[in-house]
Amino acid sequence: MRCRSVLTRVDALRTGELPAEEQGLVHEHLKTCPSCDDSLTDVGALATNIKALAVVPPRSCKDELADSYDRVRYNNDDVWVAFSDRGLRLVSRGSFEQFSSTYAKRYGRCLKSGTLPDALRKQVASAIEGEGVDKPRVDWSDELSPLERDVLGLLPKIPRGEVRTYEWVARQVGRPRAVRAVGNILARNAVPLVVPCHRVVPTAGGVGNYAFGSPMKRELLRREGVDVDALEKLAKDHVRYIGSRTTKIVCFPTCRDAKRIREENRVPFRGADQAKEKGFRPCLHCQPFAA
């Protein structure tokens, strides 16, 4: 083997990457050729010196790329919570795979494990316990439409222990015909539990669907003080509103004013027209229908 071919193989030889058959030839040459042998030590020294120049990134890209996640227990189940320093980003129940792929799809970002700050942990915990959260700290992405912003902003104002209908939400945000749209927005709610979309039920009565399943919605409402069984019984009888014989005011059945009506004065109504005909007016607190 000639010097030229040997020199190109010296570096590979140094790290033992040369094929076995070539190794022997190179070694043989090095024994007889001092200048090539020198270049072997030379490459070694240079390699060490270059290695010492290695730069390190000033900070890891993890912070730029990823939000943090942590988990909170619900009964015997995991609730996964993604959060940024501005607030909660995603709450989901079930497998971590599902959670992180939902997150990637929704926000196009990755997740790294972290510790949920106490303030946020308290919010999630009290939401699970049914204590309600007055001012949820949520980091909505900037892509929320005005309607989404209004609807999700309205939810925490539904009092704990009461429920409203999708139709009511649509009316409150000034888009009375957008009932389906409201349903879709609630279904897409990134932070269920904390932003209480479980307090919205179908106009026809009953509890309706939930991101974490109907049973959990019932459980949550019960924890918040809603008599779910009574609500479902009313739905079976097609009763949507409860009026008071003495005040001539009509409420949603879960309205705090409706709960104060005495048994003998309770008047069930199946619809707004029926109530209006009898000279009743809607409650100013729960505003069950337009006056």
């Binding site: 270059i50 290695k51 120049l53 990134p57 000033p58 890209c61 790329l65």
Partner: protein, 204 residues
């Protein structure tokens, strides 16, 4: 070399990283962090070697990791992830992004900023081995490297800074191992010449 990221020798060399690719694919908790922890310094060193700019290098690495994550979790199925030679694949991603970035910049940056004459360059005679001298030698080496043509600098960074195997480098830059050995040798020669120009004659 296109689409040659699967199978072959590289896959056997990269057992631990293979699993990492699958772990990221399955969205296992902490998998992405492990991937970032393991590769970020090397990828950054490589990007910096090409771009010679901290901000650009960081941006490229970040973009590369994001793309890798997207590819592993959404585009590739598990079999493909399992057969993926993760290290050269990541380096290749960084390389492509770096070259894109350079192309979009003005040619002015072709000459790295660090090559200006700061007065410390030139023939010198000094005893060998003091702390100061080692520092100056390192500085000279840095200068010499930043003056190299891009492809030579790239190979030197991959081979000697990141200590990658010839097999992996060949995959990253898209060439055969045999011709790569020659290229690395010529790059080293260029570096040696650049050092001599700066008056370094003793072995560094």
């Amino acid at each position: 070399m296109k689409n040659s990221w699967t199978g072959g020798e590289a896959a056997r060399l990269e057992t631990a990283e293979e699993n990492l690719a699958v772990a990221v694919h399955r969205s296992e908790p902490g998998a992405l962090e492990r991937l970032i922890d393991r590769f970020e310094p090397a990828l950054y060193g490589y990007a910096y070697g090409i771009l010679q700019n901290t901000f650009d290098a960081q941006e490229v690495v970040q973009d590369a990791v994001l793309r890798a994550h997207r590819a592993l979790t959404r585009q590739y199925d598990e079999a493909r992830c399992a057969a993926l030679a993760l290290r050269p694949w990541l380096f290749r991603t960084v390389r492509n992004l770096c070259l894109n970035k350079r192309r979009s910049k003005t040619r002015a940056l072709e000459q790295p900023l660090e090559t200006f004459d700061d007065g410390r360059i030139g023939p010198f005679v000094r005893e060998h081995g003091s702390e100061l001298e080692r520092k100056e030698d390192a500085e000279l080496l840095r200068h010499a490297m930043s003056g190299l043509p891009l492809d030579a600098r790239e190979l030197i960074v991959l081979r000697f800074m990141e200590e990658m195997s010839y097999a992996d480098i060949a995959k990253t830059v898209g060439t055969s191992e045999a011709s790569l050995r020659g290229k690395v040798f010529r790059s080293l020669k260029l570096l040696r010449e650049a050092l001599e120009e700066r008056g370094v004659t003793h072995a560094l």
